[in-house]
């Protein structure tokens, strides 16, 4: 499978990465090189094979559904580029 320029632009949009026309053209070549490389996986017969989920069989860990952490809003917003009263500030999203 290979991608064309339009597909690259669509994927960039899905990934929320702004790309220039020149970026998209360069990426098309690079992505096709990688997709060409991974294509060989199609020759592997995987019938009856389960997808891998863990290295050694283990049961999923569960913990009691209790509050063990919290009351640190100031810590959580401390690294944000824009905040007000422990809220994250973003550009207006509703008119």
């Amino acid at each position: 499978m290979s991608v064309d320029l339009q597909t690259v632009k669509r994927v960039a949009r899905l990934a929320r990465i702004a790309v220039s026309e020149a970026d998209a053209e360069r990426m098309t070549g690079e992505l096709n090189a990688i997709l060409g490389f991974v294509e060989q996986l199609n020759e592997v017969d995987v019938s009856g094979v389960e997808p891998m989920t863990s290295v050694t069989p283990m049961e999923m860990k569960k913990r009691p559904d209790v509050v063990t952490d919290g009351s640190k809003a100031a810590d959580i917003v401390a690294n944000a580029p824009a905040t007000e009263e422990n809220f994250f500030l973003v550009p207006k999203v509703v008119e």
Binding site: L14, L31, V38, M58, A80
Partner: protein, 521 residues
Amino acid sequence: MSDLTHLTISQARAKLRAREITATEITEAYLQAIERANPALNAYVVITDDKARDMARASDAKLAKGEGGSLEGIPLGIKDLFGTEGIHTQACSHVLDGFKPHYESTVTANLWADGAVMLGKLNMDEFAMGSSNESSYYGPVVNPWRRSRVDTMVMPTTHQGDGGFVSAGGTRTARTLDNAQLVPGGSSGGSASAVSAFLCAGATATDTGGSIRQPAAFTGTVGIKPTYGRCSRWGIVAFASSLDQAGPIARDVRDAAILLKSMASVDPKDTTSVDRPVPDYEAAIGKPIKGMKVGIPKEYRVDGMPDEIEALWQKGIAWLKDAGAEIVDISLPHTRYALPAYYIVAPAEASSNLARYDGVRYGLRVPGKDIVDMYEKTRAAGFGREVKRRIMIGTYVLSAGYYDAYYLQAQKVRNLIKRDFENAFTAGVDVILTPATPSAAFGIADEDMAADPVKMYLNDIFTVTVNMAGLPGIAVPAGLDAKGLPLGLQLIGRPFDEETLFQTAHVIEQAAGTFQPEKWW
């Protein structure tokens, strides 16, 4: 003072406990060495000198009372992927600009609890994506190793040399270091370079496809990626969650064992952390390997592999045989599919993990006309080329209609790769010996690699299988190539059998010796 930086962790530990040296002295020695060397090597992105001095003082107070943990007063470097409270943690990416977490990763918290001293944060490929440390926002790391040329001069009889040296004829050889700068490998290039150049006693690193073992092999150091689930991933910036594992890079096998013992733990904060006690890895060192079955997988003999790598592998086989191991040929038929499967699984998981960098909660924000424009501009400015490439691949293979064809197929192939190893271990093989990398360190800004991303990816051809199967793997230096560059061998073990890796790697180390770069920086 500078000699203190040449002590191994086990030597420094003995001297610190015997109060022959202090943690402050050894820490100062490292800080001085870093100050002198870092402009040339770029191994550290942040030097935490005040914190290092405070921690060293606290260690000295404990040591004076005859107290202290297993790493009390030992100065370490920390890969920038580990969250360190109040200290620069950016995965060497621009997108995490200014990020200082309010928490400490479990692995580093374990090290500090055992008394280790933090010297600073180490350079790496951006988000651990790379095999050369050239994708770092902070610029490439330089390998302390350089190629050298051996000149053989024929000496005339009764020649009066400059030093008043008189020769009776014959030949004399001289090694001349080449000026070309080489990569230390990646993604843990800063860790490997710093350990090799004596800028820390040991370092933390992480390995998703070979990021501990390939740089260790390129710098003549020892690096172990433990079994998936052995070290907690909590507080480590995520790249590909089903593959990422932390481990140490150290100057010898014993030091790697000491560090892993401290880094590994059972952590309720990481649900993939495996509930098994951490053994005393150091106790495995020195145990005889007589009767051990060592598997040699024929699929690791790849086209275009230099003769020197093959010769090194044969040397490794001979050393283990001499030590009483039984050598058996094995087949791991799905080996060649590991790298292509990796380049689906890793980017897919990365595209999901890196979705969080949106300019809202931390790091860089580039303003836009609306929120989507802000996201897109922030991510365009914040991520480097390699990271964008992988996010794009990951987004594509996970996009509607392609999930089964790519990701599911790759996860099934992954199970076949794992089964290959299981079959070998079930047949009685205790450990598998392979080369660590298909070449020695290459030059910074290598044109072939820059032109074709897949060429760079091939660096991980021998290491990536181990991540795909979740197994432990260790890279141990085994010799120098004709140009004087270090080459490494890799040992692969059963799940959670790191002890056999340390035991066997030590046999190789005893036979091969340890390797130090000639100082030019």
